[in-house]
Symmetry: C2
Subunit: 228 residues, 2 copies
DNA sequence: AATAACACTTACATTTTTTGAAAGGTTACC
DNA sequence: GGTAACCTTTCAAAAAATGTAAGTGTTATT
């Protein structure tokens, strides 16, 4: 049973949505407190996020962008903002569908189903800037190609992607790759980093992994944006 | 450069679309003769199909459904049919997006970009009944899981999927796996078939590969439909 | 129901791939 | 220009994929 996470501040609307999806055979989960919305969304494991943009005291667009970076579930924005520029903005930030209220239940359901279908099999995908990683099999998709990474290569890339734009310390990578820091030669990490870089190069992703001397590594976007 | 296949009977509209996408950096290709539309669509290798539903002398819905079965590119329906039921119908038949005319160029472009992004990395996916196979890396997606198949397992499944519902002869599989029939023990195929089946079972796909005694193997749907 | 032909499964040996150690080269910074 | 940090290549050990072998199960025919 697919689970939908509903992020909507209007209690009445929330009830209606819960009802619609309940009847259609979905499990739902509502976020009702908006003091820590993003964290709450991330901690709920759902198959689709239904997001209102008009949330009390915060920017819905920001939530959309941040959530998209961290989770692989599709985001459907359902909002009363019916301006074209809002739609374009939301889509650009990573929303996968944009519907305006009022919206017939049948359309909503059809679009939800459509999204879920499109994303089926993608539950384990992390999105990077111009590429995708399946972090179960370490399959890397980019530039119309797909290649397999070895476990170590894949695990490194996964970690860098989860903190995209931030610096991941070498210590953290040791922990992730070997579960410990002890008895591991630093060179082992470097060798695997070299291998990852050359794999990335094979699919046209050059110069993505930056070295931060003395600290660790950082996955940058194609060209300078971002920065935590 | 991404290529968009435009299926639209109004010449003026066609010109406008070509212009819009051309300026946005896409390659376009228009189908102008509608005596053999489906075949023409299938023979064009594009990254996205832009489909009008009101085509002379034929049912746009049918085209949508048929095309979806055969190609992996996303289908965007752009039509003047603004009835909700048409939208639902098209989405159900496999359309990936549904927009009604008139549609601002910016919205069209945003949605197209969105679709292309969603489908990037899926160029090498074969669709089965309830599962997907990346036939470059032999990554199998099903039941919310993804696993890697070994080369032989993957190559067998790929072949069976390409002739889904039909019987694939053992001879054909020998050819596909080893490039020849000679000097290969039939048991080698059987062992790999066992391994494939157990891999399928791991992701919840039981009893999919049927044995046709004396002839070969056949990939059936979940339960009885299809048939050569 | 006995037989023979075909299909399936498991264990093991061979080959291939992944991985870390070693050694030498390169780069950034004082 | 010297030093510390990082990168790269090569090689050997460990892990995974694959075929062989041997035995078991199933089906069709008599």
């Amino acid at each position: 049973m697919k689970k939908i996470v509903i992020v909507e501040d209007d209690a009445l609307m929330r009830e209606e949505l819960t009802d619609i999806f309940g009847k259609a055979g979905y499990e739902t989960c509502c976020i009702t407190c908006f003091s820590n919305t993003l964290k709450d969304i991330l901690s709920e494991v759902g198959d689709l996020i239904l997001l209102d943009l008009n949330l009390p005291g915060m920017n819905g667009f920001d939530i959309c962008r941040q959530a998209k970076r961290r989770i692989s579930a599709p985001i459907l924005v359902l909002t009363s903002k019916d301006q074209l520029k809002d739609e374009l903005h939301a889509l650009q930030l990573g929303a996968d569908e944009y519907l305006t209220k009022p919206c017939p239940a049948s359309r909503l359901l059809a679009r939800v189903e459509n999204l879920l279908k499109r994303f089926s099999g993608r539950e384990h995908m992390l999105e990077g800037d111009g590429f995708l990683l399946d972090y179960l099999t370490y399959t890397l998709y980019a530039g119309g190609k797909s290649i397999l990474l070895s476990e170590k290569e894949g695990r490194i890339l996964e970690e860098l992607m989860r903190y995209q734009g931030e610096v991941v310390e070498k210590e953290a990578l040791f922990q992730v790759l070997w579960g410990t820091r002890e008895y591991i030669d630093e060179n082992a990490l470097q060798v695997n980093m070299t291998r990852l870089r050359s794999a990335l190069k094979k699919v046209g992703l050059r110069e993505r992994v930056e070295t931060v001397r003395g600290v660790g590594y950082c996955l940058g976007g194609g060209e300078g944006h971002e920065g935590c």
